[in-house]
């Protein structure tokens, strides 16, 4: 048991854990994370199964990575707890039981003889220390005086505060992992959706995409209203970077899309027979409509971003209408007059393949589908610990690096009207400036008459 404790109190173990965590984290950035089994097979071949078995494809959520983080947290906790009591003791009980040899053993030390009585030397020293914002404890006898002067002692706890902050952040991560709730709502304009576990609903009043003059997307805006028991509670335009917060549920603009499988298209029909001329018709996916007594049109499929896969099968590369295409069948008097893909961007393409023996041609003039906005909903009780950790970590770093504790120990001894003084200083960081500080104090003492 004690060897186990010793294991976790060792700084070497902490450093080893840090190195292993670093290497593991690097590994996770070299292997793409969270992809499908097929993608790994394609990329790594036979190796894919091994990678998945070792959880290297979900590395940061893997049992072994989380175990490493847990051990790291445990080590951090124990190391910090063990370091605290001596520090608290140092803070609360400044040492005043030292002799000149102890002080001369310190890195920074001075010895001098002052032309002052012990009492006046004491007073002079206190004045100097006070003007330089030191606080001190002292022990005095007839002929001897020891003073322990210190300032900025909070600095000794800087690293402990950083460690505590890291533990808080790790704890926040655990809470997020176990208790956070997330879902995506795909809402059409006017649609109301109940938010699971929240006891209220949200309504999408309107959704719009704003564009820059060059056609690039400027912003997506969803006007959302929170509805609770039939009452409208709060409304907000939710955009990227501007979520809505209601009762710790956050609503983010996350994505958008079109119901292309329910698209409606407008076709322009042309007939070489003069009396028929041009005709515009609207037709929905899956629908069959009569254009006139002899002609019928059916829209089989609509793809917003038409491409062919390796087997020459059409599919949509994305949800963006980059290459809209409609699979249309036209029959005349019950006979197939045209059947094929029409492309909005390439109207001449279908004319190259007209229906056999037909004088009919068609163009895809317009297309539309209802748009929806995807709102990401999250309730993450871990965040409060994360933010507390963030504030603490900065406070701790500021203390550790810039609130440098200074401790100077003085031993004074009355020697026939004069006073012999030995001073020793303790500083772990920025020693150059501390050395100067001590020299200044000694110089000020020498000047006192």
């Amino acid at each position: 048991m004690s060897s186990l404790i010793r294991f976790f109190t060792s700084v070497k173990v902490a450093i080893t854990l840090l190195i292993i965590l670093t290497l593991a984290s690097i590994l996770g950035t070299l292997i793409p994370q969270g992809r499908s089994h097929e993608e790994y097979l394609l990329h790594y071949g036979q190796l894919a199964n091994l990678l998945e078995k070792l959880q290297l494809t979900k590395l940061y959520q893997s049992f072994w990575y989380l175990t490493l983080l847990f051990l790291f947290g445990l080590n951090l906790t124990i190391c910090t707890l063990l370091r605290l009591p001596p520090k608290i003791k140092r803070l609360l009980q400044p040492r005043v039981d030292f002799k000149p040899p102890d002080l001369e053993a310190l890195r920074f030390h001075h010895s001098l003889s002052l032309n002052l009585s012990l009492d006046s030397a004491d007073q002079a020293l206190r004045e100097i220390l006070k003007s330089r914002h030191y606080r001190w404890g002292e022990k005095k006898t007839e002929t001897e005086l020891t003073i322990n002067a210190r300032k900025r002692m909070a600095g000794i706890f800087g690293s402990d505060i950083v460690h505590l902050a890291i533990l808080l952040i790790l704890f926040g991560g655990i809470i997020s992992g176990l208790l956070s709730f997330r879902t995506d709502l795909a809402l059409h304009e006017g649609e109301v959706a109940e938010v699971a576990w929240a006891g209220f609903s949200v309504r999408l009043n309107s959704f719009e995409t704003e564009y820059y003059p060059n056609g690039q997307v400027k912003d997506w805006k969803s006007s959302l209203t929170v509805v609770e028991n039939g009452r409208e509670i709060v409304s907000k335009i939710v955009e990227v970077n501007h979520p809505l917060n209601h009762k710790n549920f956050m609503f983010y603009q996350s994505a958008y899309g079109w119901d292309w499988d329910k698209a409606e298209v407008e076709l322009l029909l042309r007939s070489a027979e003069a009396e028929a001329g041009e005709k515009r018709v609207k037709v929905k996916t899956g629908e069959k409509i009569k254009v006139d007594d002899e002609t019928e049109i059916q829209l089989h499929r609509f793809l917003p971003d038409f491409v062919l896969d390796e087997n020459k099968q059409p599919f949509s590369r994305s949800n963006e209408p980059n290459n809209p295409a409609a699979l249309v069948e036209i029959t005349k008097n019950g006979e197939k007059a045209f059947s094929g893909w029409l492309f909005a961007r390439f109207p001449e393409f279908s004319q190259l393949h007209p229906g056999k023996g037909s004088s009919l041609s068609a163009e895809l003039k317009n297309y539309s589908a209802s748009q929806y906005s995807v709102i990401h909903v999250s309730r993450d009780p871990g965040t409060r610990f994360i933010w507390a950790g963030c504030i603490l970590i900065m406070l701790g770093l500021a203390l550790a690096f810039y609130w440098l504790p200074r401790e100077i120990r003085f031993y004074l001894r009355s020697e026939g009207g004069r006073t012999a003084l030995t001073a020793g200083g303790i500083a772990t960081k920025n020693r150059e400036s501390f050395a100067k500080e001590m020299e200044t104090i000694i110089a000020l003492l020498r000047k006192k008459k």
Binding site: V11, K12, A14, I15, L18, I19, L21, T22, S25, I26, G28, T29, L30, P32, Q33, Y60, G173, R182, Y212, N214, Q216, V217, K218, D219, W220, E239, V240, N241, H242, P243, M250, Y252, Q253, S254, H376, S378, D380, T383, I386, W387, C390, I393, M394, L397, A398, F401, T428, K429, N430, E432
Partner: protein, 272 residues
Amino acid sequence: MKEATLFPLAFLLYILAAFFYFASHFSRREKLAKSGSAVALVGFLVHNLALILRTIETGHAPFTNMYESLSFFAWSTVLAMVIAERVFRFYRLSAYLMLIVIALMALASSPLMPKEAMPLVPALQSYWLWLHVSVTLLGEAFFAIAFVASILYLLALRKEKAGEKISNSLNPEKLDSLSYRAVAIGFPLFTLGGLVFGMVWANVAWGRYWSWDPKEVWSLITWFVFALYLHTRIVMGWKGRRSAWIAILGFLAALFTYFGVNYLLSGLHSYA
């Protein structure tokens, strides 16, 4: 005046400053280093103006594509150098830092980097863009100082071993301490800008503070390396050679976070 004319002017001034700094080394005349410092400062002011004009021209923060980002990183490095020169009263690092700045400026000027300003994508329209990027890059600029100090430290050690006389400006102990002091500035800045502001912004923009995106992981790795630097130094008393190597690795990790992730790994941060 336009950014497109001021940027090359700043670049030229940096080259001139580097020339002075190196001339000072080889002639061992401190005065030349001070001239270099003055020229670098003028270059820095011109660069300031260039960044301000860029901000006015584009209407957004001057670090939203790789050209702007490189220019801003160079600017941060000069800022860190100007601060370091005044705090540490030490000019020997500046010549080598100027080489890094010149490399960044040259890369930014290269035809590989498209210079035209694009309007901001929705995810970047936030004041967190200013805070997150500027503080992080300033932190990384101080890591660059630690990097240069550590390399010079290793070189000085090698010279010492070879029995050569070492000039005062290459005192190993001083270089080791400078490296630490640069990390002591860079580490809190990097923590604040990269990790804290990054998490806050990610939570606002993406709805989660941490997504294990490669850029996030690499900034964590960079942070781990400097945490190692501090702990091995303070707790285990590793000074000198081993410490210098960790600082070098740390800066390389920071550089990879900044640069390599964008080109070699894909993820949420692929804006530039």
